[in-house]
C-alpha cells in the first residue's frame, strides 16, 4: 500500500466518523426540540422456531403504539418502543434485560413470551423495580415478585374452568390425562388433576410422553383400558394432532379435552376430522360481536393481511395498559405497580390483576366444528 492510498483511506475514515457524529448529534437535537418520548422495552422471540408467535405479538404492539401516538401520545409525549429479540433463549434474555434496564433505562417491559426466558429475567426486573408484563403460561411466574405481571392466565387458571365445566355440564366423572414430559405439560397436568378431583371427578390414568415422540398407540390403548369418559391432552398442537389421529385409527371413542395451545392451524392440518369435537378452555372469542373486539380484529387484519391470534389480542391490551399507567405515573414504577393492582383494564378483553399479578380473565370453553375454532354450546 503506498502513501497516497493510505491518505485516501484515512480521509474516508475521518469523513465517516465525522458524519456519524454529526448524524448522532442532529438526531438528538431534533428529538429534544419536541417533547422527549417515553420509552418502553419489548422482549419477544423474533427469530428461531417461535418467531411466528413473536411476530404476531409484535404486530399487535405496533398497532397499539400507532393508535396511541395518533391520539396524542402519553401526556403529549410519543410512545417509543424498543424491540429486542430474545430468541426464546434464557441466556440471550438475561443480556437483553440488563441492556433495557441499564442502557435504555426503561420503566416497563412487555414480554417475554417464552416461559423459560420469563423465569430467567423476572428476578432482574424485580430487583431493579422495573415493571414486567409477560405473556406466559407457567404457574411458576406467579410468585416471581411484586413488579412482575402477565396478561395471559396461568395453566392452573384455565384448568379450573375446564374441570368445573366438564364435571358440571358434561357430567364427566372419570378422566385420563396424557401430557408432554416438560415443565409446561407437567404443570398443566397437576392443575387439572387437582381441580378435577376438587370437583368430585376421578383421574383414572395419567400417561406421560416425550418431546418429539410420534407414536402414541400403546399409551392410548393403556389409557382407554381404564375406561375414562374423557382424556385431557396437555400438549402442543403437533403432538395433540397425532394423538387424535391415532386415537381415531384405533377406534377410541371418548371426549377429548385440550389446552389453549391447541387453537392452532397445525392441529386441524394433522388430525383433520379426528379433531372435531375437542373441547378446550380459551380466553378470547374472535366472533364476539363486541365493538372493541371487532374493531381490533378488522384493523389488525387490514394492516397485516392476516387474522390476529389469541396471544396478539392480549399483548395489544397489554400495550394499552402500559400506556395508561405511564400516563398517570410518568416513570414512577412504585405508582405504576399500585395502579396495576388496583384497576380493571377494559380493552379488547377485560383484565384485572390478582394479588400475584396474574390476570383474572373470563375463560370460556371452545370446540372444533367443521375445522373451525368456535365457542362451545351446551
Amino acid at each position: 500500500m503506498n502513501k497516497t492510498t493510505q491518505i485516501i483511506i484515512g480521509i474516508i475514515v475521518a469523513i465517516i466518523i465525522l458524519g456519524g457524529i454529526w448524524y448522532g448529534l442532529s438526531r438528538k437535537s431534533t428529538t429534544l426540540t419536541t417533547k422527549e418520548p417515553i420509552k418502553i422495552g419489548v422482549m419477544l422471540p423474533l427469530s428461531g422456531k417461535n418467531a411466528l408467535n413473536g411476530q404476531y405479538i409484535q404486530q399487535a404492539i405496533i398497532l397499539a403504539q400507532e393508535e396511541i401516538n395518533q391520539n396524542g401520545g402519553i401526556n403529549g409525549k410519543k410512545l417509543e418502543i424498543i424491540f429486542e429479540d430474545d430468541q426464546c433463549d434464557p441466556k440471550v434474555g438475561a443480556t437483553i434485560a440488563q441492556k433495557l434496564i441499564n442502557v435504555d433505562k426503561v420503566p416497563l417491559v412487555l414480554g417475554p413470551w417464552c416461559s423459560s426466558v420469563a423465569l430467567a429475567v423476572a428476578p432482574t426486573f424485580e430487583n431493579s423495580k422495573t415493571i414486567m408484563i409477560a405473556e406466559v403460561i407457567t404457574p411458576k411466574l406467579t410468585t416471581a415478585g411484586d413488579y412482575i405481571f402477565r396478561v395471559q392466565p396461568t395453566g392452573a387458571f384455565y384448568m379450573k374452568t375446564l374441570a368445573e365445566e366438564v364435571v358440571k355440564t358434561l357430567g364427566i366423572k372419570k378422566a385420563g390425562v396424557m401430557y408432554i414430559g416438560n415443565d409446561y405439560g407437567a404443570s398443566v397436568k397437576d392443575a387439572f388433576v387437582k381441580e378435577f378431583e376438587n370437583n368430585g371427578g376421578t383421574v383414572v390414568d395419567v400417561e406421560q410422553y416425550m418431546d418429539k415422540q410420534t407414536d402414541f398407540k400403546t399409551e392410548l390403548i393403556k389409557i382407554s383400558q381404564k375406561n375414562p369418559q374423557a382424556i385431557l391432552l396437555a400438549s402442543y398442537a403437533q403432538d395433540a394432532g397425532l394423538i387424535l389421529k391415532q386415537a381415531k385409527e384405533l377406534g377410541i371413542n371418548v371426549q377429548f379435552l385440550g389446552v389453549p395451545a391447541l387453537e392452532n392451524k397445525d392441529l386441524i392440518k394433522i388430525a383433520g376430522e379426528a379433531a372435531e369435537g375437542l373441547i378446550y378452555p380459551y380466553h378470547f372469542n374472535f366472533e364476539n360481536p363486541n365493538e372493541n373486539v371487532q374493531k381490533f380484529v378488522s384493523s389488525y387484519t387490514s394492516k397485516f393481511g392476516h387474522q390476529p391470534d389469541g396471544f396478539a389480542v392480549l399483548m395489544y391490551d397489554g400495550t394499552y395498559i402500559a400506556a395508561k399507567i405511564l400516563e398517570k405515573c410518568n416513570s414512577d414504577t412504585e405508582c405504576m405497580k399500585n395502579e396495576l393492582y388496583n384497576n380493571t383494564f377494559k380493552g379488547v378483553t377485560e383484565i384485572k390483576f390478582d394479588s400475584n399479578g396474574d390476570p383474572l380473565l373470563p375463560i370460556n370453553l371452545k370446540t372444533i366444528k367443521n375445522g373451525q375454532f368456535v365457542p362451545y354450546e351446551k
Binding site: Q213, T218, I221, E249
Partner: protein, 287 residues
C-alpha cells in the same frame, strides 16, 4: 390386548427397520456412520410433499420420482463430499463429523425451502383401522410392515446371490484384498449409497404418510434407527432389521408395565445391555 401390543410393537419396529436397513447397508460397506441418512429420508418426504401436495402430480408417479430423487441425493452426497474426503485420506472420524454437518445442513435447507410449520401429505383419509385378531391396524401400517419384511428378504438375497452384492460383501470384509482381485472399491461405495438411499426414499414416503413432515424428522428417525442398527449388529443388514423389530416390541411391551414416560429409557437400556454384553449385536460377527 396382547395382540394389540404385539401389532403396535411390530409397526414401530417396521418404521425403525426402514431407517436402520439403509443406514446399516452403507455402514457395512463404507465403515463409517452416515448420519445424513436421516436427512435423505426427510428430503424424500418433502419431495413427495412438493410433487403431490403442492404441484398436484399423480400419487404413484410422485412416489417413484421421490424414491429416485432420494437415490440420486445419496449418490451425490457420496460423490461430492465423502469421496473428496476419502481422496484426502480422511479418517472415519472426519467422515462421521462431515455426516453430522450434512445432516444439519440439509435440515436447515428444508427449513429455508419449506418453513418450520408442520406439513401433511394428506393422501390417506383418517379413519378407523381394520380389526385383525382383536387388534386394530390401518391399511398403511400393514403396507409399512409388508414393505419392511420384503426389504429384509430382498436385501438378504441381494447380498447373497447377486454379483454386486457379493462384491459389496467382499469390500466390506477386506477392501485391499477386494481391490487386488479387481473390484473397484470406489464404485462399490457409490452403489452402496445408491441402494441405501433408495431404501431411505421408501422409508421417507411411508413415514411421511404415517406421521407428519417436520424439518427435524430426519434426526428423530436416526436416533431410533441408529439404536436399532447397533442392537442388531451394525455391520449386518438383516441384523439391523431384526434389531429394529426387537426394539419396537420391547418399547411397546415395556411401557405396558412401566410408566409410559420410560419409553426412551427402555430403548437405551437395551442399547447399553447390548453394548456391554454383546457389542457385535444380534447377527454381528465377533472379530
Amino acid at each position: 390386548m396382547f395382540n394389540q401390543l404385539l401389532i403396535n410393537g411390530i409397526i414401530a419396529g417396521a418404521i425403525y427397520a426402514l431407517v436402520a436397513s439403509g443406514f446399516s447397508l452403507i455402514y457395512s460397506v463404507c465403515k463409517f456412520v452416515h448420519f445424513a441418512h436421516g436427512a435423505v429420508i426427510a428430503f424424500s418426504s418433502y419431495f413427495l410433499y412438493l410433487l403431490f401436495s403442492m404441484l398436484g402430480l399423480n400419487f404413484g408417479f410422485s412416489v417413484v420420482l421421490s424414491i429416485i430423487f432420494a437415490s440420486i441425493l445419496g449418490f451425490l452426497i457420496d460423490k461430492i463430499v465423502y469421496k473428496e474426503l476419502r481422496k484426502r485420506k480422511a479418517s472415519n472420524t472426519i467422515l462421521l463429523i462431515a455426516s453430522v454437518a450434512l445432516l444439519i445442513f440439509f435440515e436447515s435447507l428444508i427449513l429455508i425451502l419449506f418453513g418450520a410449520d408442520v406439513k401433511t401429505i394428506g393422501y390417506i383419509k383418517i379413519s378407523k383401522g381394520i380389526e385383525i385378531l382383536k387388534a386394530i391396524i390401518t391399511p398403511l401400517q400393514i403396507v409399512i410392515i409388508i414393505v419392511s419384511i420384503i426389504l429384509l428378504i430382498l436385501l438378504f438375497l441381494f447380498m447373497k446371490k447377486t454379483k454386486l452384492g457379493k462384491a459389496m460383501r467382499a469390500v466390506a470384509d477386506n477392501k485391499e484384498v477386494a481391490e487386488v482381485v479387481g473390484i473397484s472399491a470406489e464404485k462399490i461405495y457409490s452403489w452402496s449409497f445408491i441402494i441405501g438411499s433408495l431404501i431411505a426414499g421408501i422409508a421417507g414416503i411411508l413415514v411421511g404418510l404415517e406421521q407428519n413432515l417436520e424439518p427435524t424428522m430426519g434426526t428423530n428417525l436416526m436416533i431410533k434407527g441408529f439404536t436399532a442398527a447397533i442392537i442388531g449388529g451394525v455391520g449386518s443388514v438383516p441384523g439391523s432389521i431384526l434389531g429394529s423389530f426387537l426394539l419396537g416390541l420391547v418399547e411397546n411391551f415395556g411401557i405396558w408395565f412401566l410408566p409410559s414416560g420410560y419409553k426412551d429409557a427402555i430403548a437405551f437400556i437395551i442399547l447399553f445391555i447390548f453394548l456391554l454384553f454383546r457389542p457385535q449385536g444380534i447377527l454381528g460377527i465377533k472379530k
